[in-house]
Amino acid sequence: MARAADVMSVNQCVDQMVGYLAPDRLSSVTWLSHEQTNLEIFPLLKAIPANHGEIEEVMNLQPAMIIGGQFGAPGLKSLVKKFGYDWHELSLPQDLDALYRNWEQLGAWLGQESRAHDMVTRLQTGLGDIQKNLAPLNIQAMVVNANGWVAGNDNFQDAYLRALGLSNIAAERGIQGWGQVSLEQLIYWQPDLIIVPDSLFGGQARATQWMDHPALKKVHSRYPMVKVDAGWLSCGTPALLRAAKEIQRHILQHENNPSASVFIHHVVNKESDHVT
């Protein structure tokens, strides 16, 4: 049963999630989803008109349903409600269970419960398989985001690391929520694996460039640093699974070949087989 495109999304992750569950019903996505990425969902979203979260756009589109995130567009939210549109919002997940609940919830709103359920199963089994492989290795890892922000306890990235069977050294060192690390701390902490969310597009930025500091290259960690496309980690879609597989591949590859550990492995540059 094909319904007209009547769902407007004003959140980048919602764009992607609806893109997986009910692509035909997406009438508008955020402009951010039109920015070049190598997500598999990108070509699909690129073909759907973009919005900037303005009430005028809502009135123009007259969507049956507007879906946003918990913290974005507070001004739009109140306006949309005032004009009587159907507003839904997904909470920001702090762990994987919350993410799965979001999928189920979205599935219910869109009438795509079975697809949502399949998605949850897909993510669960995918991550579960990886956890089985990696957990025995006892790897202390950490995700170092732009400008040195790292995830501590009570944080989705922390939950993600644990779901992969990795222990989060930042949380172990007492970081709560989000914290910032310096080069010096990284050298003292000596994580087995550093995961750097980076951008494949648009060249360098100081915010991530500092992870190329020569001092870090002189630290003989168990595995070389791995750079993963930041876009893959930002929303709880199959891209998360894809990133996890890359991290697993990276670990297993260097587990067998530890001598190669001096070089940073650029996962993101090799991937092109995954376009829908």
Partner: protein, 323 residues
Amino acid sequence: MSRSLLLTTLTMGLLAVMAVSLMTGRGAGLTWPGWDWQSQLILWEIRLPRTLLAAICGAVLGMAGAVLQGWLRNPLADPGVLGISSMSALGAVMAMYFGLFTVSWMVPLAGILGAIAGFWILITLIGKESGILLIVLAGAALNAFSSAMTALMLNLAPNPFAMQDMLFWLMGSFEHRSLEHLWLIALPVLIGMTLLYRLSPALDVMALGEDTAHSLGISGRRVLWSVGLGTALAVGACVSVAGVISFAGLVVPHLLRPLTQWQPRLLVLPSALAGALLLVCADVLVRMLPPGQELRIGVVTALLGGPFFLWLLRHVRRAEVEL
């Protein structure tokens, strides 16, 4: 205070704060570095480049401030106030975020070109004889314009993390710098500072005015080129690796002027040393705060320099410079 005493004091002070800087970790406070490989790596690969870079950039800003003030006979001149630094940041940003970053020296080169453009706009279009306040006003306009353009460029940059670099470019930082950065700017800084330093004898003569200086054998055009190129090379290179750090070049010459008999010539070298001292100190201060506190070195220098600048403005307006 005799000159050798002044220079010795500044050098000793600089060496002392550099030693403190080598012992200061971000958020870790002052600690004696151990002999384990981690401490040694941090000392030589992280703190040393950072300290040297802060010293070099401070020396450049102090010297450029002293030379610009002497040359323009304007106590309010400084690469930051005149907008040369922010133009240089704009140049570097344009190169770095828009695909010109294929070779590492492109960013300093673009920073230098930006500084040349800023200098050219200021001096050639506004004119250096247009009065103390007018040229400062022009500098303020140039500053506002190029900072806004830098923000715009970072907004438009294809890299999603570019926006997070805004603070770095506008407020400066020596965080995460390595010896690579040091080598990258060594040559332009060396040439620039040589050009500026070689001008110092002429600066005293410039105090007598353009025409008299000409009659004493100083070619205004040659001095213009030296000041322009020297400032652009040294400041442009520094800004491209450390962002804009304002007011350092303004404050330092002023504090030293009474100690150098108000002779612009004698001010150049001490200003370089004191500029280095100031920035290394400021950078130590920045690191004393726990991580997560986003205090930038430019904020420290602005906290010091901003009120000072206003105070100076008041004095200049009243009775030129008996400061």
